[in-house]
Symmetry: C2
Subunit: 264 residues, 2 copies
């Protein structure tokens, strides 16, 4: 029996503390005044830096923001979301080939092998693995967090604010602290919507209707439709939250950043 | 006291089961013949699908490969790594805007708002968050796994093999099963190499030397240098493992894929 950790808990199922943490995840946007002490932050950072990584190159850096002045200066780049200044700690995860290139430079190895779109993917993936590990670790310690998608919108300005060198791109930004709210679990699509067996099982009108039934019937959705005076959730996304014009504007920003940082 | 989960364990520190799992992570490449039963796989998939996601759009799909014939057919795309056929389950995580676009189509919303490089980033990030959640969940259940970076190398051919539609790109591939080996923990860079406070703390010859000391002195590194007859680890990467020519070749593949799939 090799599965020494594969323990049956109380109820005869395989639920454990880690799964409970992950299945109770919800974003937290309000934090208490409590700071995150050094030992706790260190554990989170250690977990972040112990994830899988391409060829063990660890192609990421983490910028810890605790300085309130720094947070305030960056708040406009996060479109002044309150958590951009209210969280005790913000962790920015940077896809980073700069350190590895420096290592190559000082060991007389080629320094131009990783200035391309394939290498960019490795670094982005490494950075997100680290970020998600940090999130799970934080929740296991009773912390809450919210991702700030604005980091890729304004990547150019964050590069300046965080003094990031060439061959780095910030790709994840997580505000964390002790929860001062306990929102309901977010409505999610059923597993059937997300999981395919062997090959991609394409969607049609009927399956989309069925898979989105619960989400569309959700209290939050109804509230959103009223507030926005729109007939369905899809149009809230395309006409309010993430419009074509905005997305194409920010696509140009990230494309320029990828070029300037040496990946495209 | 809001931190109800912030428990001090035995030794007066904050270590818990989740952190222990994460800090003991190592890639597993040899699996027992044991299958992953449906309940266990379901828990892993549920954890995967409960992570943070851009605007709660859940911009990913997961393809479960269990069919050995299918694995064998895809093995060459994974450069015939043994785990590509020896694992009982392979999970492929796909950055997926197709489902959301379909939803928009059937709700008379715009279907061209997310055909751009910014939206691509959201979907890639969502897919990797889901993938890493699956990994942590799997390890908490006693499973082991290894990421197959080959998924982005041969993304074009995986799209064909998995019958992925436009607006999807496979970005993570994880072979998992019950461990039939217990390798040592991988040597990692010290936290000081990866974590910066407030702004990026650039590297110089002295700091690189210091930060890579342990890695360069590691038994595995010495073995690699002998095997490759090369003077240092950097040159093993640039001259053997991930060469400029290979990387640039595979950069063209992913660039073509991103264009053809409607993101660039």
């Amino acid at each position: 029996m090799p599965h020494i950790l594969y323990i049956n808990f109380n109820t005869g199922n395989t639920m454990n503390a880690t799964l409970k943490t992950m299945l109770q995840h919800r974003s937290i946007r309000k934090f208490t005044a409590d700071d995150i002490d050094e030992q706790t932050l260190n554990l989170i950072l250690q977990a972040a830096c112990n994830g899988s990584t391409m060829g063990n190159m660890q192609l990421y850096s983490i910028i810890v923001t605790k300085d309130k002045e720094k947070m305030k200066a960056m708040a406009p780049l996060h479109f002044n979301q309150p958590i951009a200044t209210n969280a005790p700690v913000i962790l920015t995860f940077v896809a980073d080939f700069h350190r590895f290139n420096k290592y190559c430079e000082y060991r007389d190895a080629a320094t131009d092998a990783y200035s391309n779109l394939q290498s960019y993917h490795w670094a982005v993936i490494d950075a997100i693995i680290a970020a998600q590990n940090a999130c799970v670790a934080a929740e296991s310690l009773g912390l809450g967090f919210c991702w700030l998608g604005t980091i890729t919108y304004n990547a150019d300005k964050f590069i300046e604010a965080l003094q990031l060198p060439k061959h780095t791109v910030p790709v994840a930004c997580i505000a964390m602290g002790y929860p001062d709210e306990q929102p309901e679990l977010t409505d999610k699509l059923p597993l059937e919507a997300l999981v395919h067996y062997e090959t991609y099982n394409d969607y049609n009108k009927e399956s989309i209707d069925w898979l989105y039934t619960e989400k569309e019937a959700h209290e939050n959705t109804k509230k959103l439709l009223e507030e926005n005076n729109l007939p369905n959730l899809a149009r809230i996304f395309t006409e309010r939250r993430y419009t074509k014009a905005d997305n194409e504007h920010f696509a140009k920003v990230i494309e320029t950043v990828m070029k300037r940082q040496g990946f495209l």
